[in-house]
């Protein structure tokens, strides 16, 4: 995998700055090859695959040893990461004896030397955060589990052979979509962005969901999103969290092009009965009329009362509104069903989408034109996973863009680590090197991070400014000043 490189112009000399990148990623189970000579059996997945076998074994062995060693100090909490000059390793045991290890190369600066000497490389060991990359590893596992179920499940179904197949198939593609250089605080939160909506429109959506679930009784759960933001989830919170991640960072970006194309879009409204509609399947058949169309949908695994249940994931979209319908995987989905769904949901969802859009425009008009504010913020609520960021641009398939300097993002991450250490409400105000003020507030289960661009402000003024922000942006929640 090639690492993304960015250039930074420094006074006279040209420095080359390298962002953190993925060195290796492997999964092993020490119980699979306990005897000498059988070490290779422990390794279930190794990226990059072209590494020499003995090196793989050595690396796995090292991790095993570190974990084992640190266990002697705290049997319940063995090491989670290992910091070295050149890289950082993250250990995660998602299921008993199954270990996922991710090795990230530290960001570095390459300083060219005069006289043709090889450039000096300066590793920035302290620039990356354990919390951020620890969260990335956990996310990798959650994503695998969403589409494949647990490691244990694959073991039961087909032993090590099946598990390694599944891991290979999943991670080969998934690791290519990891963009370690743009991971930040939001990955730690793994939050959900909710679409702001008035009560009446929300109730209409409720009514829509309930009616569809009644008339298509195969549907077990429904989730409803607008503009890539969640409005309703019939799934439990943790399942929704990872499904949301998949939808917004993978599925939707892949399908956004026709909509971005605007008016000249080749999308033609479908006619169901005598109703025009813009509904289409994002998963499953691309064209219902195609006689060759396949009615296969991705399968996902969600928590159920007794372990896990496997579901078909139907994602259906009309304009900016997307509905996810989940149906037990034991049912075979037919053309008939898809046509029925298309005919029922298409017109209603189209109507609903334009309703929401209209309501949204009205609300925006009432609240006044959006001025570029003096501050940027990230808000997160642990209770409902609600996240809001004015720092991050729209997510695209490739990267998640932020509008602030990575140094500031690092400060946010540091403050977050501080908050994680204590249970009490806290407030931290930092003046960054670049003259920005960074304020972190924690009240009960909520966290707020504000970046203020007022270099001449003093501590009191900054404090006042944040109070004002809370009063305007968060007046409807209990958030202590």
């Amino acid at each position: 995998m090639c690492s993304a490189t960015s250039y930074k112009m420094a006074s006279a000399m040209q420095e080359k700055q390298y962002t953190p990148s993925l060195l290796s990623f492997f999964i092993y189970n020490p119980t699979f090859g306990p005897r000498e000579g059988e070490e290779e059996k422990k390794i279930l997945f190794y990226h990059p695959s072209d590494i020499e076998k003995n090196e793989k074994i050595r690396n796995v062995g090292l991790c095993e040893a570190i974990v084992q060693f640190t266990r002697t100090f705290c049997p319940t909490k063995p090491a989670k990461s290992l910091h070295t000059q050149k890289n950082r390793q993250f250990f995660f045991e998602p299921e008993d004896n199954f270990w996922i290890v991710m090795v990230v190369r530290n960001p570095m600066i390459e300083k060219p030397n005069k006289d043709g000497k090889p450039p000096t490389i300066e590793y920035q060991e302290e620039e990356i955060l354990d919390t951020v990359y620890g969260a990335v590893v956990r996310q990798c596992y959650s994503m695998y589990k969403l589409f494949n179920g647990t490691f244990g499940r694959a073991m039961e179904a087909g032993g090590v052979e099946l598990l390694t197949q599944k891991l290979e198939k999943f991670f080969y593609r998934y690791l290519q979509t990891l963009h370690l250089q743009s991971c930040d605080l939001l990955d730690v939160f793994g939050g959900i962005s909710f679409f702001p909506l008035d009560k009446m429109t929300y109730l209409k959506i409720q009514s829509f969901v309930n009616r569809v679930e009644e008339s298509l009784s195969l549907i077990k759960y429904t989730a409803f999103l607008y503009n890539d933001q969640l409005i309703w989830s019939g799934l439990e919170q943790d399942d929704m969290r990872i499904l949301y991640k998949y939808l917004t960072t993978s599925l939707f970006p892949r399908h956004s092009e026709p909509e971005l194309a605007g008016r000249d879009s080749p999308l033609r409204p479908e006619v169901a009965g005598n109703l025009l509609h813009y509904g289409r399947f994002l998963t499953g058949p691309t064209n219902l009329k195609d006689p060759e169309a396949k009615f296969r949908f991705p399968k996902i695994f969600v928590t159920a009362e007794d372990g896990y249940e496997e579901l078909h994931l139907i994602v259906y979209k009309a304009m900016s509104a997307a509905a996810c319908f989940m149906i037990s995987a034991s049912v075979e989905l037919t053309r008939d069903f898809c046509e029925q769904l298309d005919g029922l949901v298409g017109p209603q969802l189209t109507l609903l989408a334009s309703d929401i859009c209209e309501q949204f425009t009205i609300n925006r008009r009432i609240s006044g034109p959006e001025k570029e504010p003096q501050f940027k913020f990230i808000y997160f609520n642990h209770m409902n996973l609600a996240e809001k960021s004015t720092i991050h641009m729209r997510k695209t398939a490739s990267v998640c863009l932020t509008s602030v300097h990575p140094d500031l993002m690092k400060i946010l991450g540091d403050i977050n680590c501080d908050f994680a250490r204590v249970d009490e409400d806290e407030e931290i105000i930092v003046k960054a090197m670049t003259d920005y003020w960074v304020v972190g507030k924690k009240s009960d289960q909520r966290e707020l991070y504000v970046i203020l661009n007022q270099k001449n402000a003093n501590l009191i003024e900054v404090n006042e400014e944040v109070k004002r922000l809370c009063a305007t942006q968060f007046n409807n929640i209990f958030f202590l000043d």
Partner: protein, 658 residues
């Protein structure tokens, strides 16, 4: 859902307690007065007795009168004050029934020479109208003087007449063909001529002859408006395939207009009744009846054409209770012959069998309509206009599919909202003083169609949520649908509905669903709701945050917020909060200090203690607490400790600003 008994098909029935009278015979003549709804059984011209049976016992009378010839017409004035009897075609006789007034009969001849009295109508307790073949004469009766005074008369050729006692309107059939109808209205001694109108005949006879029969015309008020109903028989020559009922709207003022056409889709002999604002058409040969609701909108042009609301059905079979001394307990009741040719039908809802001596009121049964009318939206429109609709409507609510339930709720809430608004504007009008304007507002009438949240809760939702066979998914969907409909009609949702939603969600462990509903404020903020959420905290910890948020938004619950925080030992949080809302000056120091002490954290206690001392200093110039008021329980014993600490304390400690 789970209907076990066969569906009831008959939607019309005869009243259970008919008025019974001695049946008509050669010695017993029977008369019916539509105004007082009294049946007169006159034996031998009254010599052997007149028995009057009314709708209730109060209006029932029995008396004797001299036989002065055959009785043609007999009626009491309103309130049974004066009896009028017509025995000849020239005059009407009167007998006082007011105690202490002379009982001797007196008589009045019609004023118009050579005229024949067709009949008479009482329009008041002492006002009477004679209808003759040459016009009408309006009299006032003076029972004490035993005389009458002519108030007004009008010359006009009359074929026959009809009287609508409810509106005191007399309708005269005039001209040779009889199809020009002239109505007159009477009120408090005045007679006013209303505009005449023409009934369109299916065929114009040549030569002209009387072509409009009295039997084919009826008057009745439907939805508060007076209508003349014309039973238009089919005619081969006019090529009309079946009979229809044409309704002419007769307003108090202005012209009469043809307004509705009811399609009967058959031919034969018909009779009309009005029950609960429905036009009931009885068809004798098929022994069935049809009902029409003129307010049910049919997508049609200028004149509203209506099809029957429901398929034709016969009146519910009726068994005659055997009464009188001859009754033997073991004898089964005799089935009554419905649609018998001896039946006479009177407006609005009376059916009389003179040969059997029964008077029934016709009634509509609403329960069978639920199964007969498939279009539930139309069913709701129909039911909402009926008098005893509440329980039937409520029964429909919980046994349909979701879209139907939604339609039903919307229709109910539309009516509910209109009532609330009327009530509201009435209250406003009353408060602003009744003096204003002559049009004093009437208090809105609450009909059964007004189904409020408590009806819905008691009769539908609360029992529905407990039904085991209904999936909780559907229950919640129905509850949300009801809340949606209330919101759509801008009706404030009552707390008990939210409670029901929460109870149902909690019962099925659907906390995340609840969380989302609260997040979008679907369950509106209130103190009781916030308290309910607090009580859920032990099973669902996020309820704590939801509750605090709600209390904050209410902005009238600052005390509650402080209590919640103190109970969680968040003493500093409570203190900061009370300061931020400006309540620090008036707050009781004791509860803060008590809470701080309970934490066992001496630094915390000191911080809180100092904070209040500073407050006291600012307010009263002294750090001392007022004796008796806000006095902390702790004093000097620990004082030393604070002295020592004071040196270490700075205004800001850690991240906590005090």
């Amino acid at each position: 859902m789970g209907m076990t008994e066969p569906p009831q098909q008959h939607y019309l029935e005869l009243s259970e307690n008919p008025v019974q009278f001695e049946h008509a015979s050669s010695v017993n003549n029977v008369f019916f007065d539509e105004a007082n709804k009294q049946v007169f059984a006159v034996r031998s011209g009254g010599a052997t007795g007149v028995v009057v049976k009314g709708p209730d016992d109060k209006s029932s009378v029995a008396f004797r009168m001299d036989d002065k010839g055959e009785v043609k017409c007999i009626k009491f004035s309103i309130g049974n004050k004066i009896l009028a009897v017509q025995r000849t075609s020239k005059s009407v006789d009167f007998i006082n029934f007011i105690p202490d007034y002379p009982h001797t009969e007196f008589s009045q001849e019609c004023k118009t020479k050579n005229a024949n009295v067709l009949g008479f109508c009482w329009t008041n307790w002492n006002e009477i109208v004679f209808i003759t073949d040459q016009g009408i004469e309006f009299y006032q009766v003076f029972p004490d003087k035993r005389s009458l005074k002519l108030l007004k008369n009008q010359s006009i050729n009359v074929n026959w007449y009809q009287y609508c006692p409810e509106t005191a309107v007399i309708l005269l059939s005039t001209t040779v063909q009889g199809n020009i109808l002239q109505p007159f209205a009477f009120r408090n001694g005045t007679m006013s001529k209303m505009s005449k109108f023409e009934i369109e005949l299916p065929v114009i006879p040549k030569p002209a002859k009387l072509s409009l029969s009295e039997r084919d015309i009826a008057m009745a008020t439907i939805y508060g408006q007076l209508y003349v109903m014309y039973l238009k028989h089919h005619s081969r020559t006019a090529n009309s395939p079946s009979a229809e009922v044409v309704l002419y709207h007769l307003p108090r003022e202005g012209a009469c207009k043809k307004s509705h056409v009811l399609k009967l889709n058959t031919t034969g002999k018909f009779a009309l009744n009005i029950v609960d604002n429905l036009v009931v058409v009885h068809h004798q040969s098929s022994q069935t009846s049809l009902i029409f609701d003129i307010n049910l909108k049919e997508p049609d042009c200028a004149v509203n054409t209506h099809q029957p609301v429901l398929p034709a059905r016969s009146i519910h079979p009726y068994r005659m209770p055997l009464a009188g001394p001859a009754v033997v307990p073991s004898q089964p009741p005799v089935p009554c012959q419905l649609y018998s040719s001896s039946w006479s039908v009177f407006q609005p809802d009376i059916i009389i069998s003179a040969s059997e001596g029964y008077l029934w009121y016709l009634q509509v049964k609403l329960h069978p309509t639920v199964n007969l009318l498939q279009d539930k939206g139309k069913l709701m429109d129909f039911l909402l206009r009926r008098r005893d609709c509440k329980m039937v409507i409520l029964s429909v609510c919980s046994q349909s599919t979701l879209p139907v339930v939604a339609t039903v709720f919307d229709k109910l809430n539309q009516v509910y909202k209109e009532y609330l608004e009327a009530e509201q504007s009435y209250t406003v009008a009353m408060e602003s003083g009744p003096s204003r304007g002559s049009a004093a507002q009437k208090r809105p009438v609450r009909t059964q169609a007004v189904i409020d949240q408590s009806d819905m809760y008691t009769h539908v939702l609360s029992s529905f949520t407990e039904r085991k066979e209904v999936s909780h998914k559907f229950v919640i969907a129905v509850l949300m649908e009801y809340i949606r409909s209330l919101n759509q009609h801008q009706i404030t949702v009552q707390h008990y509905l939210y409670e029901l939603v929460i109870k149902t969600l909690v019962q099925h462990n659907l906390f995340y669903m609840l969380h989302q509903f609260l997040q979008y404020h679907v369950l509106s903020d209130s103190k009781p709701l916030a308290c309910l959420l607090l009580s859920l905290e032990s099973t669902y910890p996020p309820a704590h945050q939801l509750s605090l948020d709600m209390l904050k938004r209410l902005s009238t619950a600052n005390d509650e917020i402080v209590e919640v925080l103190l109970s969680k030992q968040q003493v500093l949080g409570a203190l900061r909060f009370i300061r931020s809302v400006g309540g620090h000056d008036n707050v009781s120091a004791r509860k803060f200090l008590d809470a701080a002490r309970q934490t066992g954290d001496q630094m915390l206690f000191y911080t809180v203690f100092r904070s209040f001392q500073q407050r006291n200093q600012r307010l009263r110039g002294s750090p001392a607490f007022n004796p008796g008021e806000n006095k902390p329980r702790v004093h000097s014993p620990d004082g030393k400790l604070y002295q020592n600490h004071r040196k270490l304390m700075k205004p800001t400690i850690g991240g906590l600003k005090i």
